[in-house]
Symmetry: C2
Subunit: 419 residues, 2 copies
């Protein structure tokens, strides 16, 4: 049998559809893309080689099941294989590698589980393509908004519906991926931290107690497009000039709130769309996307008010109209205390360094946690870099993650070694 | 024979491929698009109905020629039929309508010209699609940069070469549209002002003496993309936060220079491209497009220095790299004094109100002026609005334009009325 670290490396490469993790432009596997589909195929191959039963549900989530008894409860675990544009090869993928690796460890130790184990490879976790995140896990828990999703488009004007149909899924029936309460006993996800806390402090495992889900705003400024050469400076209603100061205000005020609050707070103007975005036309319309996060929901609301007030001021000063749409508003998610305690005990026993912490990013587990007791394990991201080609987690850290996840599973499924 | 104003209205509608000039989203006929091709076809039909000989040259410019003697000199006139995205139906089109209308007037008066007259319908005048303007007239004067053009793309990643080939043109030979010096004796263009000077001051005709061509900069800020939720405010290298203050500095400094200078000065941040432009990723790279215009080339250079100095400061303050590329640098173009005098005389004789003025926008005539004595006539734009669905010039003003252009032509071709 291949050594674990070697198997981890091969699996990581295979799921990333590559033979080297060093890619100048990183990895691009957008939700419902051909690339995501190829990664899911690799997942099926690897799961089959571990004698797991694989199946795709109606929304495109891939399942790999170790079924011991149809009437026994099921322990769920998993993550995702899609990426942002030019992202890293560890975000999501490492959670799938670790889930497969943990099962491989159980099999190596000839554990005979008393419960079923299901690895879930969730489809389209990132919001990078359509502005909607965790489509796969949302569908699984029944949080589907077909009316809204149907009209959401990627930057090439492909709708979610079109993308799903191109992927081979059925728009009319994909919601049937919904799972009943008895489908899982509990769920656990392992993920790279995507922040710098573990790496900077030389800690191997983060046991997460809360996820700071986002409020997302679309702020639209309506000016008047006109010719850049013929419209005098004093005659203009330039939407970009009017709204641009908001970019730096968001940064400054977020830094200030973060300093003054107990919980971490971040806010980012992450997208800008200028219309018509042509060299010789004054910007007539500008849309800014703002992403606001904290585990303290009150801080997020307070920040939205601040943006609203500042935009009213910009409206007056520039005599233009500004509209604010709240396109996402997710309440912070708290994870299961028992699972956190079990993970703490395991780290103590295995003498693995750990800490309790928050998650700044959303993950599929935040949906699962609304229905089933759920846990989230972090492993370090070197320099905290993520969603970038430089994203990196050493194999050693993935291996520690596998060992914690394997120990957790072993205890959960309550099995015995076969003779 | 249809009355002139009725003919003008019908021709304007036909060239705009519409039955109403009031269109909420304006007109979109990008360079080398199917729509531009259809408009050129309409031009050929109308020119044929005036018994003009039509032909398309190698780059796709449409010619309509009234040939009286192959050895006689040729008076050129014309404009373009392409538009920006959601632009107006007067920019360019009115110049073609007026050119055709002027010939129609000569024919109505049974003038028998002693020189040839050629109307040119230049292809792809606007830079809206590829960032390159006046491709048709540039090619005609031999200002072709195939190496540079070949890689320039529209927002759907189509290159100029692909667009030209889809249009039915040959990339290898399109430069053969080049014209020898003896092809024209002179050239004249009629265009809407696209500014507010004529309309505001109730003047019917602008006789242009200079064109304030642009310097265009691409300013690129290189930060570090990272996850918006997991990267603390103090750990960020946000390219958008770093470069955003430049937007308002460009506006403020341009307004200041304009106030203090004899010649009009304008500068605009007209395009923004954020990478990766995803809701959950901190902007890692931001490109701003800056358009700088004046008939005073020294002012433009002075403004470029100002941008350079300010960017150095932003680089230091934010510890990121900023790169400035000068993607366009066109010297101001001065038009032919004799033609200006002839137009002045005509306006005096016909008792039409006029003024001498500059052009803030570039036009095909700025290329023609480098090779042949050239003139530019402006007619009013209501409220100075252009490159926008609200762009409008009353039929009455177009008719005055036709009469001035017809009078000019009549004198230039030195014809006599046929018996």
């Amino acid at each position: 049998m291949t050594k674990l670290h070697e198997w981890i490396e091969n699996t990581l490469l295979a799921l990333n559809l590559t033979d080297s993790m060093e890619q100048k432009t990183g990895f691009t596997r957008l939700g419902f893309s051909r690339e995501e589909k190829l990664a899911h195929e690799q997942f099926r191959n690897i799961a089959s080689s571990l004698a797991l039963k694989t199946q795709q549900d109606e929304v495109g989530n891939q399942w790999a099941i170790w079924e011991v008894d149809p009437d026994a409860p099921t322990i769920g675990l998993g993550s995702h294989l899609d990426t942002v544009i030019e992202g890293g090869g560890y975000d999501g993928v490492v959670g799938i590698v670790a889930a497969l690796g943990a099962i491989r460890e159980l099999k190596r130790k000839r554990i005979k589980p008393k419960k079923n184990i299901a690895i879930l490879c969730f489809i389209s976790e990132e919001s990078a393509r359509f502005g909607v995140s965790t489509i796969g896990s949302k569908t699984l828990i029944g949080k589907v908004d077909k009316n809204k999703w149907e009209n959401m488009k990627d930057y090439e004007h492909v709708t979610i519906r079109q993308a799903m149909e191109q992927y081979g899924l059925n728009w009319e029936t994909f919601h049937q991926a919904y799972c009943e309460d008895n489908r899982f006993e509990s769920f656990i996800e392992l993920h790279i931290e995507q922040g710098n806390h573990l790496y900077q402090n030389h800690i191997d495992i983060g046991i997460v107690y809360g996820i700071s889900t986002p409020i997302r705003l679309k702020v639209t400024a309506y000016g008047q497009s006109n010719h850049t050469g013929t419209t005098q400076m004093y005659e203009r209603k330039d939407a970009l000039v009017a709204i641009a100061p908001l970019i730096n205000v968001v940064q400054k005020e977020a830094a200030e709130i973060n300093k003054q609050s107990e919980q971490a707070f971040v806010a980012t103007v992450s997208t800008v769309n200028v219309l018509p975005n042509a060299m010789n036309v004054i910007p007539g319309k500008v849309e800014l996307g703002i992403d606001i996060r904290s585990v303290d929901d009150k801080l997020k609301r307070q920040f939205v008010s601040l943006v609203e007030t500042y935009c009213k001021r910009l409206e007056k000063e520039n005599q233009i109209e500004i509209r604010i749409d709240e396109i996402v508003n997710e309440k912070a998610v708290l994870l299961d205390k028992d699972i956190q305690q079990k993970l703490t005990n395991i780290c103590d026993e295995l003498k693995i360094s750990y800490c309790h912490m928050n998650s700044g990013a959303g993950h599929d587990v935040m949906n699962m946690a609304k229905r089933w007791p759920s846990g989230l394990i972090f492993i370090p991201s070197v320099n905290g870099i993520s969603h970038h080609p430089d994203e990196y987690t050493p194999l050693r850290n993935i291996q520690i993650g596998v060992s914690v996840l394997a120990a957790y599973l072993e205890r959960e499924v309550g099995g015995c070694t076969t003779s």
